[in-house]
């Protein structure tokens, strides 16, 4: 079975490379878009108690929505293809990044902020040189969760014509061709594990030296 899958892969290399490329492109764009929206939004609301609570509640509801349901709901509105899938995946990536950005900034101890203010820092300096560096590991943990979720969600994009490695899986299931399905399922599993590992490493690397766990 694995040999057959390998044979299929080597004879359809161009097709596989395209699907793999689409999968990575759609995942990376969705994650980048979500980060560009959710991180500034999180920073903006974090220090306003009411707004922060509202944002966290909205994110919690967003987090509970089934990925496939979100993809399916986008389809009747935006149609099929790369863009609708990108929109749906971006929506799915927003909640963990938003929640963690807010939690990261709120988690910065008041004493540290007070000390920074006492040293004469402006609110902007406090944000850029105190709050954000200390919140970075938590924000990155959110990005990591979102990244794995997006790589996994991008498999489902195949159902709405978004392309990617899910195409092999859906074709394999439809024709009950196990080797074909493995050509999609094994690489996407490895991609997801690699994403988790990579973001885990970045998370440790970006933790300010004084905060690293021994």
């Amino acid at each position: 079975m694995l040999a057959e899958a390998w044979h299929y892969l080597t004879t359809h290399l161009a097709q596989f490379a395209t699907a793999f490329g689409v999968h990575v492109a759609i995942s990376a764009s969705a994650l980048a878009l979500a980060a560009v929206i959710a991180i500034p939004a999180g920073i903006a609301v974090a220090r306003r108690a009411g707004a922060a609570l509202a944002a966290i509640n909205a994110a919690n509801i967003g987090r509970t929505l089934p990925s496939l349901a979100v993809l399916a709901l986008v389809m009747p509105i935006l149609g099929t293809g790369f863009t609708p899938a990108l929109v749906a995946l971006t929506l799915l990536a927003l909640p963990p990044i938003l929640t963690n950005t807010i939690a990261g900034i709120i988690g910065v101890e008041r004493d540290i902020v007070d000390a920074a203010r006492g040293m004469g820092m402006t609110p902007r300096e406090i944000r850029d040189r105190v709050e954000l560096p200390i919140a970075t590991p938590v924000i990155f943990a959110g990005l990591r969760t979102a990244a794995v979720q997006v790589v996994s969600g991008a498999v489902l994009a195949a159902f709405i014509g978004g392309g990617g490695l899910g195409d092999f899986i859906t074709a394999g299931i439809a024709m009950m061709a196990v080797p074909l399905l493995l050509v999609g399922a094994i690489p996407v599993t490895l991609l997801s594990l690699a994403t988790d590992f990579l973001f885990g490493m970045l998370e440790r690397r970006l933790t300010p030296r004084g905060m690293r766990a021994k």
Partner: protein, 206 residues
């Protein structure tokens, strides 16, 4: 909307299937995690190993997991339930173990001093005190399982995903709307209900 009104029975049947599949998977996962979590709470190495395995399983994309099980168990409900149990283990084991560990040592000492056996301490002191954290885990696991069940319709497990897939295949948006909105509503209401349970448990213990 008119499609929904004419076919509400179809939606109700799919919803019922969805709930039963999710509940079956959640119950199996809970029993397994309770056993693993109790051992893990007292053994650091076992805890690390259990979380590493569960974390690995959790990272596998849903549809890939369902697909990888096809050569082993074929299509159908068994396939879906195995995948859902695998996805719930991480959060459930972690919360059971952390919940038990968070019980203050002096409370356990007091129970021992009263002459309770290890089994009595577990069932009458540790587990009741860990309950809010365990319920918090169940809440996340329940939402995950409901979400996986939607996808599992593709491997013929039934449930609300069936409406979505039929709707996509037949280019029939009302069916997609009905399936997707019902799935979202189910996930959100289960989340809200279990968070209410969690809050009242915390209040009762405060």
């Amino acid at each position: 909307m008119s499609w929904f009104l004419r076919n509400w029975d179809q939606v109700a049947i799919a919803l019922w299937e969805h709930v039963t599949i999710s509940l079956t998977a959640l119950s199996i996962a809970f029993v397994l995690s309770l056993a693993i979590g109790i051992v893990a709470a007292r053994n650091e190495r076992f805890y690390a190993a259990a979380l590493a395995v569960a974390g690995f399983l959790y990272t596998i994309p849903t549809l890939a997991f369902l697909a990888l099980l096809i050569p082993v168990v074929g299509l159908g409900r068994t396939n879906a339930i195995i995948a859902m149990v695998a996805f719930s283990l991480l959060i459930l084991i972690r919360n059971v173990a952390i919940g038990i560990r968070n019980v203050p040592a002096e409370v356990v000492d007091a129970a021992r001093g009263m002459g309770m056996s290890a089994a009595q301490i577990l069932s009458r002191v540790e587990l009741p005190l860990a309950l809010p954290i365990i319920v918090a885990g169940l809440r996340v696991a329940a939402v995950t399982v409901i979400s996986v069940t939607v996808v599992a319709a593709y491997v013929n497990a039934g449930g609300l995903g069936t409406l979505i897939f039929n709707g996509i295949a037949g280019d029939h948006p009302p069916k997609i709307w009905a399936g997707a909105l019902a799935a979202c509503a189910l996930a959100v209401s289960v989340d809200l209900a279990l968070s209410a349970v969690e809050r009242s448990l915390r209040r009762a213990r405060a």
